[in-house]
């Protein structure tokens, strides 16, 4: 593993809301071309960790490196200093928190647990709009349509992308009129349109039936191959996670309790106690 390039490195991240510690000193690393899953029982802090990585929340403490560049760093401030329960207090001096849009521009794209497509737009427009951040034209050239070549390229790229993910047959349908599984797929396609090097999927299989889940597993695999990217996902669906992940991090009550390949995780007693043993059907 060590010879691979690190795409995302999370160092001692703690997220604290008042006295509640949602994520406790979490460290993890994702290497190039990997599919890594972050799992844990309900309320374990997965989504919070996700939101800290994508810049939605400011972490109370910790640092996050993306492609070996420091993108987020914070240490307890003000009121939090008193409440802070982590161990590395005082280690970090400055705050750097890139906003979600800046992180996306650096190449980190995400999907949402409860689908957030742009609902008045068609499938095509949803993907096309996500290409906006890679524009080279400025406001005025765009306003007066002096960027026709770029516009044409954006549209062509969008079409190509939709063909790759097999959504080109519904490209003129309203995004929200699609069946659930396709909406999930479209959200992934929209994230891919931003040309990411790391794709973050927040419970991609939530609300899917077994058939759709099997297809999704295949789809995620294909996406990694076709777009040559790294994927980090949060998921409840054990079959899916065990099926597609290279490595798995398990957290419970905000703390990491295990890390390893699917086989290692399945036989890890701590994990079974915390999670698999309790809710087999999840």
């Amino acid at each position: 593993m060590e010879d691979k390039r690190s795409v995302l490195r999370v160092e001692n991240v703690t997220m604290q809301f008042g006295g509640v510690v949602a994520v406790d000193n979490l460290s993890m690393e994702v290497f190039e071309h990997e599919i890594v899953a972050l799992i844990g029982p309900n309320g374990a802090g997965k989504t919070t960790a996700f939101n800290a990585i994508t810049g939605v929340y400011e972490p109370t403490n910790g640092a996050i490196y993306f492609n070996d560049n420091l993108v987020i760093e914070n240490h307890p401030q003000g009121k939090m200093k008193k409440n802070y329960a982590g161990r590395n207090m005082g280690k970090y001096e400055k705050i750097i928190v890139k906003t979600p849009d800046q992180l996306t521009r650096l190449g980190m794209a995400r999907t949402f647990q409860n689908i957030r497509l742009w609902k008045t737009m068609t499938v095509f427009e949803n993907v096309l709009t996500a290409k906006h951040l890679r524009r080279t034209s400025n406001y005025f050239t765009a306003m007066f349509h002096l960027n026709a070549r770029e516009e044409e390229k954006m549209r062509q790229d969008t079409l190509d992308l939709l063909k790759l993910v097999e959504l080109d047959d519904v490209k003129d349908e309203l995004a929200t009129s699609l069946p659930y599984g396709k909406q999930r797929k479209l959200e992934i396609a929209r994230a891919l349109a931003t040309n990411p090097s790391l794709l973050l999927l927040d419970e991609p299989a939530a609300g899917m039936n077994p058939q759709e889940t099997v297809e999704l597993a295949q789809f995620i695999h294909d996406v990694r191959e076709k777009f040559n990217i790294t994927i980090l996902l949060i998921e409840h669906h054990m079959n899916l996670v065990m099926d597609i992940s290279d490595r798995i991090y398990v957290i419970d009550f905000g703390k990491e309790i295990a890390e390893g390949t699917p086989a290692e995780i399945q036989s890890n007693q701590k994990v079974i106690d915390a999670y698999l043993g309790v809710s087999e059907d999840e």
Binding site: T47, V56, F112
Partner: protein, 293 residues
């Protein structure tokens, strides 16, 4: 310069604004709707009293006041039923636009009835008499206003925090659907909220207009907008906030006059509004809103 008269008049105007501001704040708390028609309801209640007991009417003043209050409450109820209830599931912008429409309608209706002219407000025995207090001589209504506002605020806060109805009101303001599932008749709660707001506007109009000479169809817009600023400054949705905000606005405007900035008084209150919004977007007593992803 003696600043006392300005302080007292400021508190008085503040008290009158407060009664209107509570109406804004209660409706916002429950429906998340800025009831633009509230200031016009205030004006309509003044006009109603004029037509019953003023120069054009011949009814005894106390009977007219009671009827006026009842009619204003009915008006508040009707506005909610006709203009806001049908839009309950619509986007928030729609109900705000509907509120603007109602405000427009009330103003135009009154302008049609009065011919757009200013009408003389009747003398109200007691309220219009001059008294001397703390070395300041003014109409009784001036001294009574802040007291009435604070008493009514305390009563309302007690009702909201300690009665069953108050509990259902708080529940509805948090979550419509869950409240409904818990067996709360949300439409009834909303109607009563509007009725209370209308009642306070009627009382406020009595205090406010008794010190003014004439009122016309636009008389509601200035106190309406000031009360509204007060509600936002205090933290819209919070009743004590509305009263505190109104007293602040009243004082600030009155003191502006004291220091010869009368021309600036409107500008100052709006500037205060924007400053508060920028530094504490939900007002002094407002709750912080957290976005969920």
């Amino acid at each position: 310069m003696n600043i006392m008269p300005y302080v007292i008049r400021g508190l008085a105007t503040g008290g009158q604004f407060a009664l209107v501001a509570i109406g804004y704040t209660m409706v916002y708390g429950i429906l998340k709707l800025i009831n633009f028609a509230h200031g016009d309801m205030f004006m309509v209640s003044g006009i109603m009293l004029i037509y019953m007991a003023g120069s054009t009417g011949a009814m005894p003043i106390f009977a007219s006041i009671i009827i006026m209050v009842i009619l204003t409450v009915i008006l508040g109820y009707l506005i909610e039923k006709c203009a806001y209830a049908p839009l309950r599931t619509a986007p928030r912008m729609s109900s705000m636009i509907s509120a603007i429409g109602v405000s427009y309608l009330l103003q135009n209706l009154v302008s049609y009835i009065t011919g757009g002219l200013s009408k003389q407000y009747p003398e109200i025995p007691g309220l219009s008499t001059s008294v001397r207090f703390l070395g300041v001589k003014d109409k009784l209504s001036v001294f009574v206003s802040p007291v009435v506002a604070i008493v009514l605020m305390v009563v309302l806060v007690l009702v909201i925090n300690h009665t069953k109805f108050g509990m259902s009101m708080r529940a509805v303001s948090k979550d419509f659907e869950t409240s409904q599932l818990m067996g709360i008749k949300i439409n009834r709660v909303i109607s009563i909220t509007f009725a209370i707001g209308a009642f306070l506007a009627a009382v406020g109009s009595l205090l406010y207009f008794s010190k003014n000479t004439g009122i016309n169809h636009l008389a509601g817009s200035t106190p309406g907008i000031k009360a509204f600023i007060a509600a936002v400054v205090g933290g819209i949705g919070s009743i004590p906030g509305a009263v505190v905000g109104a007293l602040i606005i009243g004082l600030v405007e009155s003191l502006a006059k004291a220091f010869g900035l009368a021309d600036f008084s409107d500008v100052i209150s709006f500037a205060l509004l924007i400053i508060i919004l920028v530094f504490k977007p939900t007002g002094i007593f407002g709750e912080k809103v957290i976005d969920k992803v």
